[in-house]
């Protein structure tokens, strides 16, 4: 990783005749991402969706849960730009408020997977031996359950609800993160600079913080982005099944589910939140691909 980054750093800076040391790893990565057209498109897309979610109170014309029974299943019009659902609720208002929940569920559950998975992976990879064996045996059992199934199983035990969905997706993502981090730590801990750090009396904690973590950060960031897309999809999927948010709360997966019964009469109720899910996951995935190209060519 380090050597590949250095090589490319040399080739990139050679033209500008700048010394190699002038650019840090982070700066090189950022430059490459900024030059990656796909990643930029993804970033703009995600930025726009995040902005919509953040500005929900200003963009929504109505209370997202307010029913207008005299205006149920209205097609898009000036009064209701994206139409109304079976309760006459404004689809646009529900869409922008729903985005807040769907995107938050994705973000929090991925954060949970990494908060648990990264330390576990580093511990297993760095310390090795029996601890590594123990952690990897547990991970193996964890991996005996397909991701989504594990998430469904956890919701089944804890009961439906938003918090439980986040916990379930987070927990089901841990083994994948742990395995990747462990795999990335193994070659890094054999590097000469780690040995030197140890020889000059650096504490284990300091070695992990200063030498191991920065050098395994690239694959972690890439996986984080790619997992975010999956987590958003799983979250909306569980809400679609009725296991996530409970009515009348607006959430993209639940909105698609609510519109199912009126698919023929009112296509917009289900279709529009579906497009929002698609765009957000696509945006995140495009950023993830760009990051992978820029930061970690090995994963390509």
């Amino acid at each position: 990783m380090l050597s590949s980054t250095r090589e490319s750093a040399t080739s990139e800076t050679a033209g500008a005749a700048r010394p190699v040391r002038a650019l840090s790893h982070g700066a090189i990565g950022l430059r490459r991402i900024a030059r990656h057209r796909g990643a930029m498109v993804g970033a703009v897309l995600c930025g726009a969706l995040l902005l919509c979610a953040a500005l929900a109170p200003y963009l929504a014309r109505y209370n997202p849960n307010e029913a207008h029974f005299d205006a149920s299943l209205r097609p898009p019009s000036a009064a209701f730009p994206l139409g109304t659902d079976s309760f006459g609720r404004d689809v646009l208002s529900r869409l922008v408020y729903g985005g807040r929940i769907s995107l938050t569920v994705g973000a929090i559950s991925v954060a949970l997977s990494f908060v648990v998975g990264v330390p576990l992976g580093i511990t297993a990879g760095y310390y090795g031996g029996r601890l590594d064996d123990l952690i990897m045996r547990v991970i193996e059992v964890w991996l005996a359950f397909p991701d989504l199934l594990l998430a469904i199983g956890i919701v089944a035990v804890l009961g439906p609800g938003l918090q439980n969905v986040m916990l379930a997706i987070g927990v089901s993502g841990v083994p994948g993160v742990c395995r990747l981090v462990r795999g990335s730590v193994l070659p890094v801990k054999e590097e000469a600079y780690v040995e030197v750090a140890r020889a000059v009396g650096g504490s284990e904690g300091r070695i992990i913080r200063m030498h191991i973590l920065p050098n395994v950060l690239a694959p972690i960031v890439v996986l984080l982005t790619l997992r975010l897309g999956t987590a958003i999809l799983t979250g909306v999927g569980l809400s679609f099944l009725g296991l996530g948010v409970q009515p009348p709360t607006a959430e993209w997966g639940a909105m698609v589910s609510e519109g199912r019964a009126y698919l023929q009469r009112a296509w917009w109720v289900s279709t529009i939140p579906g497009i929002a899910i698609f765009l957000s996951v696509m945006g995140v995935n495009v950023i993830g691909d760009g990051l992978r190209d820029a930061l970690d060519p090995r994963l390509h």
Binding site: P146, D147, I152, G159, L241, L263, Q264, P273, H300
Partner: protein, 306 residues
């Protein structure tokens, strides 16, 4: 090879044992009193005591697991707290549907994925490559339940070609299989593209061309055959994704498989059924992974000696 098979089978024992313990513990991880949760707070004290006794919850934990494991090896997964029917019978009825759907979508994924990936690789950095790459990226980002609804809208409601739900006619498998297979097809396409690009750069491809082999022969006999090896393990992993994804797609299409059974059970807090479904799915998944590993070792002899 025999040694490798024996070794892999032996490795399965602790995994399956741990899975059974985890599934057994599910009932104890339920917040609050599992019996009250299952009765959804409607049962009388007598009913609660009876259910507690039936489930064996009034005994010490190791004894409970012993009974659970003993029943398990005899194919007894307990009874549904809602319908009173044996869980094993219910699963035996539904599992073939889920397996049929998963297998069909795997076929869709492999055919579509290889086609798209090969097209992209042989038109590297040309319009068709970009189009295929974009399609694959879109496929990964599609929420399956929404894609399914869009397919129903187009092919069932507007064109009236295929049934929107049920599992009565052979045609009813098409839409669910395409819906479920789209995501896996995209992943296979991306991998096939990069794997094939890698292989096409090798010396033996140049040799084959130099010997006068036609482009199609080079592609299929020398290119794809070698590119497929690293893809085998991914196909196994995709199967897991499909098994999980089937739970959502079955719900969309009213497909009478394990997924519907599980979701109904979760909403009704029918824990024995949930335990049965989770256990069955994990067992199928572990079994498929074993088959993929063995197949991999058969195709690539280097694996056996690692």
């Amino acid at each position: 090879m025999h040694r490798y098979i024996a070794q892999r089978l032996l490795q399965l024992v602790p995994v399956l044992l741990s899975v059974s313990i985890l599934v057994f513990l599910m009932i104890h991880l339920v917040p609050g009193d599992p019996v009250q949760v299952m009765l959804q707070d409607y049962g009388s004290a007598e009913q609660a005591a009876e259910l507690r006794h039936t489930l064996g919850l009034d005994r010490p934990l190791p004894v409970q697991y012993g009974i659970f494991a003993w029943r398990l090896v005899h194919g007894d997964l307990g009874r549904s707290t809602r319908t009173g029917r044996p869980v094993a019978a219910e699963i035996a009825l539904r599992l073939p549907y889920t397996l049929r759907l998963t297998a069909a979508s795997m076929a869709v994924a492999i055919v579509l994925g290889l086609l798209l990936g090969t097209l992209a690789a042989i038109h590297h950095r040309r319009l068709l490559d970009y189009a295929a790459t974009f399609t694959a990226l879109a496929g990964i980002s599609l929420p399956s339940f929404w894609f399914g609804l869009v397919l129903i809208l187009i092919f069932s409601y507007y064109l009236r070609w295929l049934p929107p739900a049920g599992a009565d006619t052979p045609g009813s498998l098409i839409l669910p299989a395409v819906t479920l297979g789209a995501g896996a097809a995209s992943i296979i396409a991306r991998l096939c593209r990069s794997s094939l690009l890698e292989v096409l750069r090798q010396e033996f491809i140049r040799t084959a061309r130099a010997k006068g082999a036609g482009e199609l022969r080079v592609l299929y006999r020398h290119g794809l055959r070698n590119a497929l090896i690293p893809m085998l393990s991914v196909v196994g992993l995709q199967f897991a994704g499909l098994l999980g994804g089937a739970f959502i797609v079955e719900w969309v299409f009213g497909w009478p498989g394990l997924g519907r059974l599980a979701v109904d059970a979760i909403l009704n807090r029918d824990i024995p059924v949930i335990q049965g479904v989770v256990l069955t799915a994990a067992a199928v998944f572990v079994g498929v992974n074993l088959c993929v590993d063995l197949l991999y070792a058969l195709v690539d002899p280097r694996i056996r000696y690692v």
